[in-house]
Symmetry: C2
Subunit: 184 residues, 2 copies
């Protein structure tokens, strides 16, 4: 039997990586991949910016435009997997989440804290993904009505470290993220 404290320290490391992602724009967890399922059942993956990580509520926070493809996908399947790869330690975090999207007045407090330079990510005209004759045929006004806050409620965390020996563990919400080792 392994020391159960090893599992505890392993999941501690994951939350440290996530916390650094929120605090440090140069950290690997700043730009996780956000995977969803499209309305017609295709896998989708794109880079996002990690805006919040709370261990006490087991939530991650990401912002998006209400007209983005990921908003449409989440309406059909409100699930995501966030993926972080820390090359230095060869550590992979896979965070399976249920996603709750907030828009409108309930997001006013968060909008107030979005720096002006970032606000132009919400409101692109025409909407993101609209075909166009020219590469720069769009405007980026800041529109609080197009701002969506995605609260990602962590359900399962799969951690893999590809060190000299590989190790892998799975932490599930239903056992309080106590964790179990898996064959890597």
């Amino acid at each position: 039997m392994s020391d159960p404290n090893d599992l505890a320290s392993y999941v501690d490391q994951a939350w440290q990586v996530l916390g650094r992602g929120v605090a440090d724009a140069k950290s690997p967890a700043r730009h996780p991949v956000f995977a969803t399922v499209s309305p017609d059942g295709r896998p989708e993956a794109r880079t996002v910016v990690l805006r919040g990580a709370s261990r006490s509520t087991a939530t991650l926070e990401v912002h998006t435009d209400t007209t983005s493809a990921k908003t449409t996908s989440l309406s059909a399947t409100p699930l995501c997997e966030l993926h972080v790869w820390e090359q230095r330690r060869r550590l992979q975090l896979r965070l399976g989440c249920r996603v709750e999207a907030g828009t409108g007045p309930e997001t006013a407090g968060r909008w107030a804290r979005v720096p002006p330079a970032s606000r132009i990510s919400y409101g692109t005209q025409p909407a993101p993904g609209t075909p166009s004759d020219h590469e720069f045929a769009y405007e980026k006004p800041a529109d609080p009505d197009r701002f969506a806050v995605l609260i990602c409620h962590l359900q399962r965390l799969d951690l893999v470290e590809l060190g000299e020996k590989h190790r892998r563990a799975l932490f599930l919400i239903e056992d309080g993220f106590k964790g179990v080792w898996l064959a890597p």
Copy 2:
């Protein structure tokens, strides 16, 4: 109207990034994220190693263990999205593909070219993802019968560059990857 050659040079850049990923272990495209849909409809994402990229056949190549979760997911939904993020240029590649898995005798030629140190990725006992009492309670024999070659047939390539001005284009197989600009 933009110069259509700009679209051509944009997709050229994407294939250069992919080619470097195959040739150079330190390149960002060496370790794409491979997104799939689980049999119960959850989004999944994990790091893989890019083993091949052929522009002439519009295919990417990845290897896996026949007992991995991604093999199971691909049996249910034979689609993936490969995702590459090149931080230096802030360039994102999203490669939506149909996946064809090869195993057994048809992979013998490729197996012969897998370096011995990499062969232990195929054959872990117990199978990857099996719960275990101990972090290192597994063996890694090399087993050619557990080696699967995933040929990813590119269907759509979504390119985004987050430079001073953002630009985004979509290249689809049905128009010969000629491409169209999209609002970013």
